[in-house]
Symmetry: C2
Subunit: 460 residues, 2 copies
């Protein structure tokens, strides 16, 4: 069980989704013998039209992991940069807010196209084999054995040096671990679900909205977002309560739907004339946060959503899984004594960051659907911009730390909370209306200087 890691080791990965396939590529490139078992059929032969696949917003951490696999350039070709948010109010008026500095953007990518690319790349590697419609049924953690079954139900015993479960939020490996003693587990669905809409191209055959932005219709208790696709469509997603006054449960007939959209999304109605039909045809889907501990059990490891599924509001779900892959490779470079030691070490090192991104993602839903439209929030963002531009401190906005740096999520969250306190203190310390840009800047710096004595530990 504790034998040293050797380059001839066999590693079995469960799940040929985005994270599992990338991990397979990274491990295969180091010479290990890789088998990936995926319970579904090959995605490339049969595109699932589940209509339940919030678009990906790829950002820094994601690119770094793709670069490690040598795939950054290929993926960039299928990506549309979104350097900022475009906020739509109930009058249909748009406001643009850059995400970061010039050149900083998140990228809209099709989840299934990226998965197909990764599968193609993976299958080009001689020491990597993918088995589709191969469902894992049972694990023997003590024996380093798993049992998989094919579509006919024929069971096969697999021995390997290590097993990694990247089989998603409903991971079979995790369900087995859950029955082991002292395994902490929690699945928590939020009160909102989501429903997808397609925004078709406009009359000129091009995008009906500015493609270089993530569009948000924030409505306090709910919101719509839209991300561009390369075929000139957008994928829009309505995040909406399951129950209550305005909810999937209450809004069902065409009149109710029309009334909701004309009150809340008048500009959206115009570019999506079949919104009533889409509302009816597309399913409501739920959103879950999954926390568990530990992720490792002897030579078995959970990774990505299988270990830490988060809500999609920070665009870090898959990306945190991609980052898991990179960090696992870095740990592997430190010559761990055995797979079980590597997995235990990876878990202890990484779990606080998974907890942090789960919280950040829940918080960002409130920011996106509510705060983003509030004058106080916008004022604080403007104050923050001045602080950053003045370069007066080692200050990085929270969104930037999460999206455009590699800082551990837990550190980003800690610093973000500290910075939020300071921003609120500065905002509340004065009246900011009717100031010129120059006066505003001067006042921020002045306040900042007096604040130095009141800043929490860790911010200098």
């Amino acid at each position: 069980m504790k034998k040293p890691i050797s380059s001839s080791d066999k590693i079995v990965i469960f799940g040929a989704g985005l994270v599992g396939t990338l991990l397979g590529i990274l491990l295969a490139k180091r010479g290990f013998k890789i088998e990936i078992h995926e319970k579904r059929p090959d995605l490339r032969h049969k595109i699932y039209s589940s209509l339940r696949s919030i678009n990906l917003a790829l950002s820094h951490r994601g690119w770094r992991s793709l670069a490690l696999a040598g795939l950054e350039e290929k993926v960039k070709e299928m990506a549309i940069p979104m350097p900022g948010r475009v906020i739509h109010d109930t009058q249909g008026i748009e406001k643009y807010f850059a995400y970061g500095k010039d050149g900083q953007a998140i990228y809209s990518v099709s989840r299934s196209r990226l998965n197909c690319l990764l599968l193609d790349e993976a299958e080009n590697l001689p020491n990597l084999k993918i088995y589709f419609e191969s469902k894992v049924e049972k694990f023997a953690f003590d024996k380093s054995v798993a049992y998989v079954a094919d579509v006919e139900g024929l069971r096969q015993r697999i021995e390997a040096d290590a097993f990694i479960g990247s089989d998603g939020a409903f991971s079979a490996m995790r369900y087995e671990m859950m029955r082991e003693d002292r395994f902490y587990y929690e699945q928590h669905y939020i009160e909102h679900g989501y429903k997808e809409f397609t925004i078709h191209p406009g009359k000129d055959g091009k995008w009906a909205l500015n493609p270089n932005g993530l569009h948000i219709w924030p409505r306090k208790s709910f919101m719509m977002i839209a991300l561009p696709n390369q075929d000139f469509t957008f994928t829009a997603t309505l995040f909406f309560p399951f129950e209550g006054e305005k909810s999937f449960k209450k809004i069902q007939n065409p009149d109710q739907i029309k009334s909701l959209f004309s009150d809340e999304f008048p500009d959206f109605m115009e570019i999506v004339p079949d919104y009533v039909q889409q509302y009816h045809q597309h399913p409501d889907a739920s959103l879950v946060t999954i926390r568990c501990a530990p992720w490792n059990n002897k030579n078995f490891l959970l990774i990505g959503d299988a270990a830490h599924a988060v809500v999609p509001f920070y665009g870090q779900g898959m990306i945190s899984g991609f980052e898991d892959c990179r960090l696992l490779m870095e740990k592997l470079d430190n010559n761990p004594k055995s797979w079980s030691e590597l997995f235990a070490d990876f878990y202890s090192f990484r779990n606080k960051d998974a907890d942090a991104i789960a919280e950040l993602a829940l918080d960002n839903f409130i920011e996106m659907r509510d705060l983003v439209a509030s004058p106080d929030f916008q004022l604080e963002k403007r104050i923050e911009k001045e602080i950053v531009e003045a370069g007066v401190a080692d200050w990085i906005p929270l969104y930037t730390m999460v999206t455009f740096t590699d800082l551990p999520y837990s550190e980003a969250r800690k610093r973000g909370l500290e910075q939020a306190i300071i921003l609120r203190q500065i905002r509340e310390s004065s009246n900011w209306s009717s100031l010129s840009d120059a006066e505003f800047r001067l006042k921020v710096l002045e306040k900042w200087n007096t604040m130095q004595f009141r800043t929490p530990e860790g911010i200098s």
Copy 2:
């Protein structure tokens, strides 16, 4: 699915443990056709010597449910009353604290003997049949069907009007519900485990300690308890951290065990001379809290530990399951329209009480292992006793509400929290040392009168 409840309905119960068997009896007495499927062999033919079965402390709510089944008297014959706690300090000195008023006691009962009695009673009913070694494998919630398999793996399809999962903390029905959309689930192991010891009879062949008490050796971060058995033994349980300075992990060799017991449990060592051997032979077991929501899915219901497993420190684990049974019968008396309506109603009505007893049980561990030995705690108990005896208010001590009344756990917890604040305020408002009993009483009443203006809402 929504057909009315009829007395000829068939109800299938999973689990022939304490709760499932009692529920079977109660439902069978109302004329329903009952099948109980239990995955283990018949307990009565083969006593499981798992050594992992904290004794039962039966109290009011438990007796009420047993009375409903006409079994109160029979069970009382196998029960030993424990009217108070006996606290052992590190010098081996004992102090006795009554649990309630005269005549109020909790009762030590053997879990397996009680289960055997219930199984015998159940099998005497003509419309109740128990199938042992019948393991449920799959559920079809939509079709009101379950699939069970016998020891040979032969699968059988069972149709019924209702299905109730009383299959314990690791409920198979709950694992299936967990895969349904929007099911909340959490399993949380505490950092302490437990290990059982047997205290053999003394030289005179009788109990080595006073049998009319629940013995506690509180040691702040851990504790030992002991409950009497009718065969003149006691079952003792060490609740001890799994990890850390003093823990199951650290204390392993005979010297370490001896040193622990001579420092902490000198009087226990004397009456359990083979404590080192028992420490080695008896397993460490873990303690879990399980919360989930909802407990119902169409004609399927979770009950007892399957719905809400709690840690054992309030002695309310099985008892809350017994109370579930009684409350379900009361709901059934209200002529619900269908089983699914009954189950939905039962869940909405009962879940806050399950949450409350889970918290109360966790809190009571701290009380038992730590507070109980603190002078402040003992002083507050004495103040509380004066308040109760003076009858100045509608005041019932928390332990009494939980143990000797039927108040919903959630209400008991709320009132208990409010009362705790008042007790602390009274204690902190004065110096209580060197007062005679009469002076003490007078001062409590005086403080109580001034407190009237500061009491939280809900206490008058």
